[in-house]
Symmetry: C2
Subunit: 251 residues, 2 copies
DNA sequence: CGGGGGTTTGAGTCCGTTCAAAATACGTGG
DNA sequence: CCACGTATTTTGAACGGACTCAAACCCCCG
């Protein structure tokens, strides 16, 4: 059972300086962003904050959902599995993102599992805490609604692009997104990206096999669009990548 | 501009017998299902109900979103297009389903277009009407939240299946879903389905070309799993279809 | 009877998958 | 620090599937 840090305000990380969730909320743009100080205080007093190492499981498919998770630092992934061992990384979540809200709202067991992709901190909020806050602050429900509809739009966009783009186009598109999140830009417009995922998970995100992804990567290198070395990618320029994912028809 | 029927309670259809949305709400399970009679009355008084013929557009991508649409009768489709003429049918909606709520919640123009797939009735509710109701009945926000999270779960499930299943598996799966909605069961376990879509849209829903879909259909007929004649499908038994979509690995 | 859209079929090519093996990176313990 | 075992990634070859382009077909409607 996660316990650890709790509400101690004199803890190590700089994020612990301020009590509760105030620090998170200020730097990020979570669903709690417009909450008043009193509610934030309440939230901070009732959260359980826990550290996760890469690969560690936050919750698993089939687990009962007793509340809401919220990413504080790091990167986590939502994964779905089936009986035959297929694994797909459905979504990546970053500080401020909520996790497990579908199951919480519907009072149902988790349909996806969640694991840390890098060193991360994830907070946990009991269902009762959220319910109390929702009844006291109706505006919070609107924020949740805004958040879920944004995610829904993203999901539909992903479905559309999966239907319309080629494997290569999908990967190039994924690469540009990852570059924005995990890349550092250099003066000459080139970027260096440290991917938070292995080949298998990258392949699952574009709906193909890791062998196929390897060949796609080879071709990208042959075209001079990127150089791959393990999880490190060097991209001379994002422009041709974006152009590629725009044009890339179905085959 | 849609106008027409409005609040007249002595109109033609049987659904018009009861005033307002009460009839819709009772038979279906819309987001308004648990609303009190007074609110339903308010809703019914402020809705604009309109009839659509097959192919007619309810709203289009880029249109400003001034409120919420709700399917009353029939079947409608949500479609997304891109610059190069690609068209994907993202979702089908049935009586009780809400449309355009993402754009309404986010106060943004529509990202998808919506058109009637068969003869349909769709109601329109002004943003202000929904806002008033939301402020008077906070429980309505919870219902919306439940609805959007359900749709989000469906979307993720679709992404997962697109990533994991073959074209044939995806189509068989789609076929079983359409059979449940649009099929009539016979005594011997066979079903007759009248598809509400043409081949092109069917193909777009599984992310392939209509030529490829034609060949998939040929193979299904060769396997004796279904007989196709235009938009009419006869399915001897759903059992082998379900088994097929379970097993069908990626290729 | 002649469009015109939608659907099916055909041939060729490319792409993606499978199975298998080699190469590389990684973590552990000696 | 190196050796080792393990997991991941890359590459190869063969097969099947899917895409493109194109033509024929069908059906509904004017």
């Amino acid at each position: 059972m996660p316990r650890s840090v709790g509400r101690r305000s004199s803890a190590t990380g700089s994020i612990e300086r301020r009590s509760g969730c105030a620090a998170c909320v200020l730097v990020n743009r979570s669903v709690f962003k417009d909450l008043d100080p009193e509610s934030l205080e309440y939230l901070g007093a009732h959260r359980k904050r826990r550290e996760y190492r890469p690969g560690q499981v936050v919750f698993a498919m089939g687990d009962s959902c007793g509340g809401l998770h919220c990413v504080s630092t790091g990167t986590v992934g939502l994964r779905r599995l089936d009986e035959r061992g297929n694994s797909v990384l459905l979504r990546m979540a970053y500080p401020g993102d909520a996790l497990g809200y579908c199951s919480m709202v519907q009072r149902r067991d988790h349909l996806t599992s969640c694991e840390a992709l890098g060193p991360s901190h994830v907070c946990y909020l009991e269902q009762s805490t959220i319910d109390t806050l929702l009844s006291r602050r109706p505006a919070l429900a609107s924020q949740f609604l805004r958040y879920t509809t944004q995610e829904l739009d993203k999901a539909y966009q992903a479905i559309f692009q999966n239907a319309v783009m080629s494997n290569r186009g999908r990967f190039v598109h994924l690469l540009t997104i990852l570059a924005e999140r995990h890349g550092t830009a250099h003066g000459d417009g080139s970027h260096t990206v440290t991917l938070p995922l292995g080949r298998r998970d990258l392949a699952s995100m574009i709906g193909t096999r890791h062998e196929t992804l390897s060949r796609i990567i080879s071709r990208l290198e042959a075209d001079g669009m990127a150089r791959f070395s393990g999880r490190t990618v060097h991209i001379p320029s994002l422009t041709p990548l974006r152009a590629d994912s725009e044009v890339a028809g179905h085959a």
